[in-house]
């Protein structure tokens, strides 16, 4: 197993094999399964991702049982197709694919966690944004997943990938780093450039808190995947242009672990801080669950609990 990104990069450079191939070989050795079996499972995951994007963009879109999120991927696509956007087609295809996936997730639909369900839109956002532009085949789309898994596994084993353990930086941040690296590999960049892209993508999202309104994976999760995808694309471009992060990828992962450990519990998927603790956030929670919200004083950082609860 590769313990560090640096080991993965060195192994790829020395063997002349792409990181995606190294991960496929590692899985074969670990699981005693054939190349064809592993490829088929990953291809199936890709099809689940593709189906989720299509479902989120079909008709009026999908809506969550709470009604907090839904239909916005469709709204964004319609806006984009009118041809007068500020960010341009490529970035907005990333955004609408990311949002579509997370809207399906919030509607209790079927998704592929990459690396988590809350961050499941980031990687497909990047993949479907560059698919047509680079003319990627299905095989190359699946290859991106193998590459992303290598970076994700080092992050998961050295830091964390759950919002409860490390905040959103560990979910959308990790997903964005994985997607940036995979985009570099498929665009023809070097393993070192893939590592720089991951380092830049995570550095840009370091400290991002997990503050789900009403404890639901809806607000702000759905739109945070949009920023994760766009951040990955620009990080990949920066790396391909030869820009470097200066702080090496493994150090960035270590920084993320330490920042995650230092985040207060209110900002780690408890739904008790950040946007969840705003007036409107609390109102939405009470509207949905119809219960008196208890905000523990030690978890409220910037204001006494009485002010956070508009019904007192």
């Amino acid at each position: 197993m590769y313990n560090k990104i640096a080991e993965l990069v060195t192994a790829a450079e020395e063997s002349g094999k792409p990181i995606s191939e190294l991960m496929l070989l590692q899985e074969m050795a670990k699981s005693h399964r054939t190349r064809a079996e592993i490829w088929e499972q990953m291809r199936n995951n890709y099809h689940v991702m593709k189906a989720a994007v299509e479902k989120g963009l079909a008709g009026d879109g999908v809506f969550s049982p709470t009604g907090l999120t839904g239909g916005e991927a469709v709204k964004l696509r319609n806006y984009r197709q009118r041809g007068k956007t500020l960010s341009g087609d490529d970035l907005l295809i990333a955004v609408e694919s990311a949002i579509a996936t997370n809207e399906v997730n919030a509607s209790l639909g079927i998704i592929c966690a990459t690396p988590t369900a809350g961050s499941s839109g980031t990687l497909p956002g990047v993949m479907f944004a560059i698919k047509d532009k680079l003319g990627l085949t299905e095989e190359q789309m699946v290859q991106m997943l193998f590459c992303a898994s290598g970076f994700g596994m080092v992050i998961a084993n050295n830091a964390m990938i759950s919002g409860a353990a490390g905040g959103c930086q560990a979910e959308v941040g990790s997903a964005s780093g994985m997607a940036a690296a995979a985009a570099v590999e498929i665009a023809g960049g070097t393993p070192e450039q893939a590592s720089e892209a991951m380092a830049m993508a995570i550095s840009n999202l370091l400290g991002l808190v997990c503050d789900p309104v009403a404890g639901l994976v809806e607000i702000p999760c759905v739109k945070r995947n949009a920023i994760g995808a766009v951040n990955a694309l620009i990080s990949a471009d920066m790396a391909l242009a030869g820009l470097t992060n200066k702080i090496p990828a493994d150090d960035v992962i270590e920084a993320m672990r330490k920042v995650g450990k230092n985040l207060p519990a209110s900002l780690r998927e408890t739904g008790l801080g950040g946007l969840a603790a705003t007036r409107e956030g609390v109102r939405l929670k009470m509207m949905i669950f119809g219960q008196q919200l208890e905000i523990k004083p030690e978890w409220v950082d910037d204001q006494p609990p009485a002010k956070a609860n508009p019904f007192e």
């Binding site: 369900a117 998961a156 084993n157 759950s162 409860a164 353990a165 789900p212 009403a214 404890g215 639901l216």
Partner: protein
């Protein structure tokens, strides 16, 4: 570093019903592990939630997921959200308790599951560590208590110390290494004439090997949790 995540499909996957890999898919995996260990359908299920699980289980669908796992649903079964209704129709008494204290095992996503049927009872405490992966921290079978830190897959092997032969730690190590599945770790718990051996594996063995382990002489039973 810990090799907690070993398969690329821990990172790209699972394919699952939303909305949260740690609070939905991971909760389902916890329920599934408890069900595998219990072997029969429970009549009574009590779930204790700690920390983030206690705070957000309603919004993340943790209730239907953990129960879905206990009822045997796969992570991508669209019927998972109906598991509470199904438990009711099967006359399984289900209780969810939000604990206000810290996790007994030091992880923010912790659940303790108590499964009962007549006099049979197990208590399983586990944590959902992200991306749908889980760790089992504590297991009590009837009153036999085992403290663990096990990533799946694991084998629980029940041996009777009065048997003609009691497999030693080295024998288990050698057997699995010979088969191409070197053990990550092994824990042995003994109380009077009962012994439970817990084997930590990297990957799920083949069907043939699972069959062979079940048929090994001198063991009472072997339960694979995966």
């Amino acid at each position: 570093m810990s090799h907690t995540f070993r398969s690329i499909f821990d990172i790209i996957g699972p394919v699952m019903v939303g909305p949260s890999s740690s609070h939905t898919a991971g909760a389902l995996a916890l329920g599934k592990a408890a069900a595998q260990l219990f072997e029969v359908k429970p009549k009574k299920v009590t779930i204790h939630y700690y920390e983030s699980f206690a705070d957000t289980h309603l919004g993340h669908g943790t209730d239907f997921a953990i129960l879905g796992g206990i009822l045997g649903f796969a992570a991508d079964d669209p019927m998972i959200p109906q598991s509470l209704k199904m438990a009711k129709s099967q006359k399984i008494a289900v209780t969810f308790i939000e604990e206000s204290g810290d996790s007994p095992v030091g992880h923010p996503n912790t659940a303790t599951m108590v499964l009962e049927r007549d006099k049979k009872k197990i208590t399983v405490t586990g944590s959902s560590i992200g991306g749908g992966s889980i760790v089992l921290n504590h297991v009590a079978i009837d009153n036999f208590s085992m403290r663990l830190d096990a990533h799946l897959p694991i084998y629980f092997i029940h041996q009777n110390t009065l048997q003609y032969h009691l497999y030693s730690e080295a024998e288990w190590q050698n057997y699995f290494a010979f088969k191409g599945y070197p053990l990550n770790d092994i824990r042995i718990f003994r109380e009077s004439d009962t012994e439970w051996v817990v084997l930590y594996l990297d990957t799920v063995p083949t069907k043939e090997m699972i069959y062979e382990i079940n048929e090994l002489p001198f063991i009472e039973k072997a339960i694979l949790i995966s």
